[in-house]
Symmetry: C3
Amino acid sequence: MFPNNLLSVADFSRKQAEDLFDLADHFEKHPPMGLLDRDQIVGTLFYEASTRTRLSFEAAALKMGGGVISVPDANDSSAKKGETVADAVRVMSGYCDLIVVRHPIVGSAAEAARTSLVPIVNAGDGDREHPSQALLDLYTIRKERGEIEGAQVALVGDLRFGRTVHSLALALALWPGIKIYLVAPAILATPTAVLEALQAAGVEYRQTECLEEILPDIDVLYATRIQKERFKGEEEPLYETVKDFLRITGQTLKAMKKDALVMHPLPRVGEIALEVDDDPRAIYFRQAWNGVPLRQGIIATMLNRTS
Amino acid sequence: MFPNNLLSVADFSRKQAEDLFDLADHFEKHPPMGLLDRDQIVGTLFYEASTRTRLSFEAAALKMGGGVISVPDANDSSAKKGETVADAVRVMSGYCDLIVVRHPIVGSAAEAARTSLVPIVNAGDGDREHPSQALLDLYTIRKERGEIEGAQVALVGDLRFGRTVHSLALALALWPGIKIYLVAPAILATPTAVLEALQAAGVEYRQTECLEEILPDIDVLYATRIQKERFKGEEEPLYETVKDFLRITGQTLKAMKKDALVMHPLPRVGEIALEVDDDPRAIYFRQAWNGVPLRQGIIATMLNRTS
Amino acid sequence: MFPNNLLSVADFSRKQAEDLFDLADHFEKHPPMGLLDRDQIVGTLFYEASTRTRLSFEAAALKMGGGVISVPDANDSSAKKGETVADAVRVMSGYCDLIVVRHPIVGSAAEAARTSLVPIVNAGDGDREHPSQALLDLYTIRKERGEIEGAQVALVGDLRFGRTVHSLALALALWPGIKIYLVAPAILATPTAVLEALQAAGVEYRQTECLEEILPDIDVLYATRIQKERFKGEEEPLYETVKDFLRITGQTLKAMKKDALVMHPLPRVGEIALEVDDDPRAIYFRQAWNGVPLRQGIIATMLNRTS
């Protein structure tokens, strides 16, 4: 459980998340340089490449005064020799104070946490969880909208393979009054397990293939990338048919509330037209930039260095 | 324009270059540790691999007291998912204070600069520009020769694809009395656009395929690697025929002035024989080592931390 | 010779090794933060991927207050353009204060040392030497057993390609009373050159294919990975036949002394069953973790910063 590890959105309470957001707000106003000792090291171990998640954790650690060791492409090293993620993390945990791990197989982060000497952040395990991204998204909503409570949020695009939206949907369920619209083509619909978890959490949701009909109602439009690399084998040809479905354009914005938010975990490919970037409601770059203070909050909380 | 960005050799004046060289000289005598705050971070984003350019910028930043975040092979990460360099740089610009970017496509750095929150250094965009290398070369000439003015410089080897020599030729044109010899086999001759730019700048130049005839006259012999990776499609077989053309050996040195300089941006493959290394005129390693103070000068100037 | 370079186990004396171990012990009790100046930089240049060796050197340097520049996969950069390791190291030696280099070709580190401005650590050159690993292994034996002298050590597994065991066997020969059992299938037997070196050093050794018969006698069981990547050409099919030979299990432990040590340089694939991990004699993770203080000792000694 957070703050010992951050493996799943099920690892933190609403209270813990709000405290974390307060801390991130504080760090943005008062840069936390020196909060880590110089010999406190954050390790990043990525079996799938990432720019944003890895760099924002690394920048976060450096700007707190700590050090960084990194394996940006772990598949090229020990994994190729057949080492398990559990062994790799256990070794690395003797060299650093916290490990951020991304791995293509569901459950890898939990497996790593069992053998690690130090706290583990799951930065994505297969198509399941990416809790620090969910926290970043929620933090951004709170910062831009004032509060998360009562938000009507449309999750749009790839709801089948998108670990980001799975984590976000379940995390939103911690706040009252949330309504979630799940907008995806049938082939990319939300997995039953995620729907059941939303039901179990008592969160109101609705599935639809039609974005237009809900645009006037929503506070947040959260678009996601159709992940080409997840279409394998006989499903591969389907990528071309669905990739332009639900593209966000200037036209989309016209039908939305004046104070709505357009978010995206990035990288985007074609899901959001460039013309959208200049609209004040397009906050996906600010969302990415929030990664530094939010991840500083995570590091500080997990290493018990909050002040 | 420099010092806001460093995208092209057209971005700086002769005065700015000379001031930068003075600063690099100063940093070599008085190491600038502490000139950057610990939370000032230099980011390196390389879509083509590089050792020298990337490491010298990173060492420069660290030795000024700053931090470093790096994507040493950006093609393995977000680019593979289809993200544009403009989006990647825009995100990264929220995590650091200056970005050094190399990309195989001409104009990428300028595109990146349009969306970045922080200054951009173009560390090579396709076969066009590599301005920090040109500054390093000029700095080395000034340091070794006393002044750049009046130098007779032979650019030798691949003048077609070599971005280094394009940038250097145009930058040399800022000083008076320069004469440039463009020495290359016909298949690797200087592009017309570069020749026209030299003409427009009023610099005296001469194209030749014969190195021997100019050896007694030149002050600087600047050799370049024949870049195998630029020979594509039907031109690929030509690589073998041209690669040993214009090889620099002990014999070459015998025909040169006693105080001439032999330079090379490195890496070399077979263009310079190992026997040349021990000649005092062979300064290509010192040229590479100048990368740290020169790039400290660039970082300091762009971040307005010159003292 | 150490401490100028660390290229081979032949580079250090028993006295130098014991002093180094004392220093590592001291650093473990009194973390050496600040022993390096902030502008002292350790460079890691790896032509073969590594997690453990690279990260432990980098963590070691950071936790001493120094900086790190790294080429985690040098084959992707200048080497692909045809640059020699000697040139690459010579350039890099102008950017940092010590270089840790791994390269697949025997003799590369020595070649690098000839042109480098700064001390070189050989972190593996082909199937020959990996002296900092040998020192780490010896340090671990001393720390766990009290002394190295008189140890009966079984080197088990791939004794043909395993550079780790070659370096370790020769280094053990520096202590009196050592007995080495070389346990391997015929196809992976110790090279004659290594056997001759052991003979020349006057160390007692015995070759066997049968682990069981020696289990009751040994103080240290040093298992190694069968390196799939070394089986090339017509020998490739043999990998499958030998890979499970000499697997260490709970059953193996039952026949061993109560205070014996089970070691492995890691990564392991199937050579040691997971059930062994919980036995107090299984010290391979502690062995890996010792990498930080031991490598801090190496860095401090080579940079003459031992106090």
